[in-house]
Every structure is written in C-alpha cells, then in structure tokens.
C-alpha cells in the first residue's frame, strides 16, 4: 500500500527516487536499497575522499548515537571490524526503525479504521437523532390532537349528561303522571268491581225512569219531527250551509282586505311616481337626469297601466304586474334617494375641498342674486312705509298734498265718470221709454175717446136695431166696424197699421156682446201689449206680428172675443 511507503520515506529522510514511491514493494524489500540506487551511493564515496567519507560517517554515527567505534583510518586502510560493527549497528537501528515504523503503520491503520468507524457511527447517530427528533415532534402533534379530542369528548359527555338529566326529569314527570292516571283508573276499576258485586248480590234492581207531571212544549214552539232520512239529509244540508256561509264570510273579508291592500299599493305607487317626477327641474344638471326622465316616462306609462289593473282585479297577472310595478318604483325611488344622498355628500365634499368651482360659483352667484333681491325688496318696503307715513301724517306742502289727493281721487273720478256715463245712458233710455209711454198713453186716450164715441154710436145703432128699421142700419153698422173690421181683412190691415192693430186689440178686448161694464185693462196687460214687459207664460218674446196673428186667429173663429183676454195670458 502506497501511503505507508510515502510516510516511511519521509520519516527516514532518505530521498528516494519518484519511481520508488509508486512501486508496490513489501516493507522488507523497500528497506533494502535496490540496485538502481547504487549509482547514488557510489557517488558518495570515491577513491579520493575515503578519509572524508570516514570522517563524515564518524560524524553521522556520533550524531546518531551509535557506540560504534569511530572509524580510524590507519594507513589509509579501513579495518573491517569497526565497519562491520557500524554496519551491524546501523542495521539494528534500521530494524528498530522498521519495527517502529511497522508499529506506527499498524497504529495508523487502526486509527484510520477507528476514525472511519467513528465517522460512520457519527453519521448514524446524527441520522438517528434526526429521526428521533422527527418522531418526537410527530408524537407531540399526536398528543396535542388527542388532547383536543379529549376536550371535545368531555364537552360531548357533558352535554349528553345534561340531556340525559333532562330526559330523566321528563321521564320522571311522565312516569308520575302515568302513575297518577293508572292509580285513578285502578281506583275506578275497583269501584266498578265493587259495584258489580253489589249489583249481583243486590236483588232489587232499580230501573231508570223519569216521572214527569206533564210534558213541556219545545223551546222554539215547533212540533217535533220524526227521524227520517229526509231529516238526516236536511241536517247534512244545514251543516254544509253553515260551513259554506262561514267560508263565504271569510272569503269576503279576505277579498276586502285584499282590495284595500291593493288600493294602498296603488296609492303608494302613485305617490312614488309623483315623488320621482317633479324632481326634474330642481335637480342639478347631471347625466343622471336622463335616467330620471326615463323613470318619469316609465311612470307615466305605469299610470296608464293603473286603469287596466283596476279592471282586472282578480287576475293573477294583474296582481303580479302591480307588485312588480311597485317593486320597480320602489327600486327607482331607492336609487334616486341614493343618488340624492351621494349628491349631497358630494356637495359637502366639494365645499370642504374647494374643487369643482363651477357649481360652487353658481351657488354663490345665486346667493348673491338672492341677497340683492332681498335688499331691493327691503328698500322698496322701506320706501313704501315712508310714503305711507307721509300720507298718514299731515302733508307739509299743500300743493303736493293736493297733488297727492288728486292722484288718489283720479281713480275715483274715472270710476265716477264711467258710472255717470252709464247713468246718463240709462237715463236716456228711460226718457225714451217714458216718451213712448206718454205717447202711447196719449194715443190710448185718443183711442178711448174714439172708442167711447164708437160705442155710443154702436149702442145707438143697436137700440135703433130693435126698431123695425133694420135695412138702414147695415151700412151704419159697417162704418163703426171699421175699427173692428180686423176680422174680415186681417192681413192687409196688419201690414199698414201695426199700432192700429194693437189698438184694435185693446178694443176687441172690451167689445162684449152683452152690455157688460167696460173692463179697463190692468197695467200689466197694457204693458204686455206694449211689449214693455215680457209675456208671463212664454220664455221667449215672440214677435208682435206673431202674437197678433194668433190673437186674430182666435178672434176670427167667432165674434165673441171674451176669450182673447185669456189668450193673451196663455201661452201661444
């Protein structure tokens, strides 16, 4: 083995050739100098330097501590004995050294193997340690889990125990109840048994009976009825009727409740739509407006739906529609509220941060404007108050006072002027009418006079008629009939003389066949004829011609014109 060779060569201090170091020689052989190295030794001692060599060898021997006799060079001859002794000692030395080397080598080997062994065992132990550490931690973990399990099991156990206790208490109470009941039943049973015994023993058996002095009438006074199948059917029918009426009342109340709730929902919806729609102008310009408008338009659509919904109240579709529309509106309202909230918070943020000067500036402008307006109004009011004060207090300047008075009275003057105008107009009308009236009265007077004359003449002729002189009267009759000749030629007379007609009307009023006293027409009649007051019975004022025509119609039927007075009053 090469390593001991190396070390050997180092210890001995002998320089060896490199070829030597690689060779695998045995220990013994290596100690022997091979022949190849002879050339090295031969260089040490030559013929010329024997004495030096001897001296050097003596030195070396001395330093080595050998007792060998010092090699003396007598006459230049080297005695073999000290050399041999020296050689022998060196050999001994060499052998000793070899032995020591051997021992050291073995020692070395042993140490090496020990080391190896120790290293191995170290590794092994390290591994073992690692392994045991891991095991330890695993065991710890396991222990912890087991602890946890123990705790949970403890809790389970506790709860189970509680439940067991509760169930036990329940069981005990039930048991006591059962016992109580069974005892009661047992007591009853024993009583029954006793009574049975008694009855079996007892000979006299009391029968059940009723003793009643006289049978009473039924509470509702009706006669009792036989039990027949018809009766049974009637009972069944009554029972079902009772049930049905109950269901009907319940259904009615539920329907009422339903309709009321629907109404409430509809109102709510309308309110929500109302809330959402008028917000349009007030809301600040924002893109959210579009959705609002959309909401409004949708809301308007919804109101149209309302009508439809109210018609089909019981329809499930309508019901769903209503609830869906309510939900929609509610969602819109919610989103709108959220938007408003966000806007408000945004505005609040803006005020704090000072960003977005636009809206703020607008606000400020508006505020300024409002303040200005307020100031103006205040000034105006103040001025008004001052003026009022001036008015109330006595004016210092007469002229201005007069002027002021004038100003105030101007309006009144205007009003008065207007009223005066109206008054004068009315006065004029009145004057006209009075003139007409007086004319008519004058005419009437004239007519009356003429009439009286006529009447007198007629009476005279009548009187004369009674005499045998008949023929002569006819023409005389015809004459005064000129006024009364309206009946024969009504139309022609009418066109030319409407007032005459009226006069004749008034005459005909009075022409009675009998010698009745002349009945003067009442003022109302006169006025009516003169068309100053509307006809009583008729709503509209018929034209004078129409009236007179009808009157003439009535007149022409027969000469008796008594009915004319009545006809004037009666509706045409």
């Amino acid at each position: 083995c090469p390593p001991p060779l190396l070390t050997l060569s180092h210890i001995s201090g002998i320089s060896m050739s490199p070829s030597r170091q690689n060779s695998r020689h045995s220990l013994h052989s290596t100690t022997a100098l091979p022949k190849t190295s002879y050339s090295v030794l031969s260089a040490f001692c030559t013929e010329g330097n024997i004495s030096q060599c001897i001296a050097y060898i003596n030195q070396e021997v001395c330093s080595l501590g050998l007792t060998g006799a010092s090699l003396e060079s007598k006459s230049g001859n080297l005695s073999a004995v000290p050399v041999l002794n020296l050689l022998y000692e060196v050999l001994q030395l060499q052998r000793r050294a070899q032995r020591a080397l051997h021992e050291l080598e073995t020692q070395q080997l042993m140490n090496g193997s020990d080391l190896e062994h120790l290293q191995h065992s170290n590794c092994r132990l390290k591994d073992q340690l690692e392994h045991t550490r891991r095991e330890n931690s695993g065991l710890h973990e396991g222990e912890r889990q087991l602890q946890l399990k123990i705790k949970t099991l403890h809790n389970c156990l506790k709860s189970e125990k509680e439940e067991v206790q509760k169930l036990q208490s329940i069981i005990s109470s039930r048991a006591s109840q059962y016992n109580h009941d069974t005892k009661r039943k047992e007591r009853e049973c024993t009583k029954l048994k006793e009574r049975l015994n008694q009855l079996l023993m007892d000979k006299r058996d009391k029968k059940l009976s009723i003793e009643i002095s006289n049978y009473v009438g039924r509470s509702d006074g009706k006669r009792g009825l036989w039990k027949t199948s018809k009766m049974e059917a009637r009972h069944e029918g009554e029972m079902y009727r009772a049930l049905l009426s109950d269901y009907e009342t319940r259904q009615r109340s539920l329907m009422m409740e339903n309709s009321e709730l629907k109404k409430v929902l509809q109102h709510m919806k309308k309110d929500m739509i109302a809330i959402l729609s008028p917000k349009k102008p007030c809301v600040q310009p924002e893109p959210a407006d579009d959705s609002l408008e959309q909401a409004v338009s949708e809301g308007e659509e919804e109101t149209g739906d309302c009508c439809r919904e109210s018609l089909e109240q019981s329809c499930e579709q309508a019901r769903e529609q209503l609830t869906n529309s309510i939900r929609l509106q509610w969602r819109k309202l919610k989103s709108h509220m959220e938007r408003l909230d966000s806007q408000a918070s945004l505005v609040a943020c803006q005020e704090r941060e000072g960003d977005e000067m636009m809206s703020r500036k607008e606000q400020e402008d508006e505020m300024q404007r409002m303040r200005l307006e307020l100031q103006q109004c205040k000034e105006f009011i103040h001025m008004q108050q001052q003026l009022l004060q001036q008015q109330l207090s006595s004016p210092c300047d007469e002229e201005t006072a007069a002027l002021l008075n004038d100003c105030y009275t101007l309006e009144e003057k205007e009003r008065l002027k207007e009223e005066w105008r109206l008054f004068s107009e009315q006065k004029r009308n009145f004057e006209r009418e009075r003139k007409n009236f007086t004319e008519a009265a004058i005419r009437l007077g004239h007519e009356r006079k003429a009439f009286e004359e006529d009447r007198a003449a007629w009476l005279k002729t009548q009187f004369l008629h009674m005499t045998p002189f008949v023929d002569r009267k006819r023409p005389a009759l015809s004459e005064p009939h000129s006024a009364l000749a309206v009946s024969t030629e009504p139309e022609a007379k009418l066109q030319s003389t409407p007032p005459l007609v009226t006069k004749s009307q008034s005459y005909s009023v009075f022409s009675t066949p009998k010698a009745a006293p002349v009945k003067m027409p009442s003022t109302a009649d006169l006025y009516r004829t003169l068309h100053l007051i509307p006809e009583k019975a008729t709503g509209k004022c018929p034209s004078g011609e129409m009236l007179t025509k009808s009157r003439l119609r009535n007149c022409s039927a027969d000469c008796s014109v008594i009915s004319l007075v009545r006809d004037e009053n009666s509706p045409v």
Partner: protein, 384 residues
C-alpha cells in the same frame, strides 16, 4: 259599596238566571228562588236529597237539581210551581247532569262514564250515547246550540261524535288523531272544533264541522304539553297555554303560530304595568288591646290591601313545584279573551286565582281567589 244581608247556601250553588231576573240558591236540599232586584223569595222547592249541582235552563224557565248520591235529578218550573219532574238513573248512578242548549233536554252522565242518557222534557224519547270519555272537557255545545261534540273512547282509541241537538241525530262520527283526548271546544262561529291531547303530548287538532281534519299543531314534544285553550270571540285566534309557561296564538287562516307570549319571572318589558297587592295590617300596640277597642274598632283585625304600581324590572315570586307530583302547578292554567277581541288575560304559575273572566263590555277583568275578588279596569283609549 252596599251589601245585602247574608244568605245561606251550600256547595257554592248560587246562580243568577240567564235573563237576570232571578237568583237561585241551594241550601242543603232546599232550592230558594229570589227576585234579583228585591231579593224577596219568589219560590221555594224541596228536593229529595242534598243538592250537589244546580243549573238554570237557557230560557230561565226551569231549574235542574242533581243529587249524585241517589242518582236523582229533579227539575222545577218557575212558571208553574206545582209542575214537577224527577229523573232516576237507577242503579247505574249519576256523575254529572246538565241542560242542553234548548233547555228541554237533560244530559246525565252515569257513573264510570258508562253512558250519557239524554232525557227529553217534551217527548218520551230517551237517547243513549255509549262510551263517553271522562276527561277535562269531553262535551261541548256550539254557541248557537245546534250541535254537540262528544268525545268517546272505544278500544283504546279516541273518537268524536257530532250530534244535532234538535233531535239528537248523529251527524258525524270520526276518529280523533289524539293519543289521549283531554278536551274539545267549538269555535264561536261554530265551524271549527279544537281538540287537544292530554299533557303528556303537546298536540292540538282542528276539525271542521263535517269531520275533516283541517290542521294539527305541536310546539314541542316530550315535555308536558297543553294546559288550557281559549278561542277569541271572533274565531280568528286560538290561544294555547302550556306547561312551559308560554301562550301560543294560532291564526284561523293558516292555523300556524303567529305569536307567543312568555311569562318570565322577571318582567323587564317597558310597556308592561305591574300591579302588586300590598297588604296593610294596622300595627297594634300591646297597650291598646282592650276589649272595648276590639269591639268598637272592627278594622283592627281586617287587613286592607291595595294595588300599587311597582317599578320595572319587577320580580314575580315563583314557587317551584314538586317534580314528583302529577299535574304540577306550573304553566298557563287560565286564559280569557275580552269580548271585543282586544285583550287576553292569562294566569301563570301557582297564583291563587281560581277564575278570571271579562265583563261583557271588555272594559274590566274580574279575578276570583279563595277569599278575594278583584276588579281590573282597562282604560281604553279613545279611537280617533
């Protein structure tokens, strides 16, 4: 407050006639009828045995006196004092006796609930109804007196029979889905019958007049269940009081619970007004205890009580009942709706209130305990 003289009575049998004209009291075996306004004795009847139960007929013309020991029922007429009627149940015994709503039939329940005998005062007809159930409330008449519901038990199953009171014709007979029927009650509109199970199971069933099951409601299971039930006068609500100290209100449209009221021991609801009875006993010094004082001053031993409003939160005294005893004194034992549907009065726990009922106008509530009577006036707000 004026009081009349004290009249004797036995078995707490003292009833005013339905028309309000007469007052009938029983003293042992005598039946005394007085005019209500003057309290003068109008009639005096003698029965064969001490009277255990006395009832006016609905038209105030007859009075029924039942003597359970002898199994006898005697009926007296107010119009004809010498008219008499005696019903003998024979050896079968008598447990309870009542009038029918028309006032012309008497229903006798025999001993051991073997049968219900229907005696008619108009005809000679006798009807028998077998297997009636002995429970808290096994018979109920509709408000208009047309139908009667009767609980029956055959072969360990509950049945309900509906009879027409006119001629006692069996209209419907159907099985009830209860484990152990405890009671039944018609709704005031006579169309729905509420049937509830006994306290071991919380179950209330609603049947329609023709026997169909409309709905069933159960709030919880295993713990003790229903203790009391009341219909609202408009038939819209059904109040169910249970042993867990809660009242649950069901609505008549879906028959589901719409609300529930709790009765906590500490009242913290700010809208609640708590009245507490405060007794004032006059303090008697030992020097004052002379006989003269005692005879003159009657109020010395009388305790006056007043109701005061206590501050919230108020603590209600709670007595924990013995869990080993049956029918524990916890839970809602009494329920009453006012006539105008506005108020509901409930009694929870072991308070010594024997009965509570409303005045017909709905403005006041009467509480009866063993020794006291208490009137509560509700101040109704004016409706705008």
């Amino acid at each position: 407050m004026n009081f009349s003289e004290v009249f004797k009575q036995s078995n707490q049998l003292c009833k005013v006639s339905p028309d309000g004209k007469y007052l009938a009291t029983c003293v042992q075996y005598r039946l005394v009828v007085r005019d209500f306004n003057s309290l003068q004795i109008v009639h005096l009847y003698t029965c064969l045995d001490p009277v255990m139960h006395m009832e006016w007929s609905s038209d105030s013309l007859f009075i029924l006196c039942a003597m359970y020991k002898r199994g006898l029922v005697q009926v007296w007429s107010l119009e004809q004092p010498d008219w008499h009627c005696k019903i003998d149940e024979g050896s079968i015994g008598l447990v309870s006796s009542r009038w029918s709503p028309d006032g012309r039939h008497i229903l006798n329940t025999t001993e051991f609930n073997l049968r219900v005998t229907v005696w008619s005062l108009c005809t000679k007809a006798v009807s028998y109804i077998k297997y009636p159930k002995a429970c808290q409330k096994g018979v109920d008449f509709t408000a208009d007196g047309r139908y009667m519901a009767l609980a029956e038990r055959r072969e360990c199953k509950d049945y309900i029979s509906v009879f027409v009171c006119d001629d006692w014709h069996l209209l419907r007979h159907f099985e009830s889905e209860t484990q152990d029927l405890a009671g039944l009650e018609w709704s005031p509109n006579c169309c729905v019958l509420a049937v509830w199970d006994n306290c071991l199971e919380y179950k209330i069933l609603l049947y329609s007049l023709d026997g169909r099951l409309l709905s069933s409601y159960s709030a919880y299971e295993w713990s003790l269940g229903i203790k009391s039930v009341a219909w609202s006068p408009s038939s819209q609500f059904l109040a169910v009081g249970s042993y867990d100290e809660k009242v649950r209100i069901l609505n008549h449209i879906t028959w589901k619970k719409i609300t529930e009221f709790e009765h906590p021991a500490t009242i913290i609801n700010t809208k609640a007004v708590v009245f507490k009875e405060v007794e004032k006993r006059p303090v008697v010094g030992s020097e004052d205890l002379s006989i003269h004082q005692l005879t003159v001053d009657n109020s010395l031993f009388s305790t006056q009580s007043k109701y005061e409003i206590t501050q919230l939160p108020a603590q209600v005294p709670v007595i924990k009942p013995d869990p080993d005893r049956a029918n524990p004194k916890i839970g809602i034992s009494a329920l009453a709706f006012s006539a105008d549907n506005r108020f509901l009065a409930t009694k929870n726990g072991s308070f010594q209130v024997q009965s509570l009922f409303w005045h017909c106008s709905g403005s006041s509530l009467v509480l009866l305990s063993k020794e006291h009577i208490c009137l509560c006036y509700m101040e109704a707000e004016e409706e705008k």
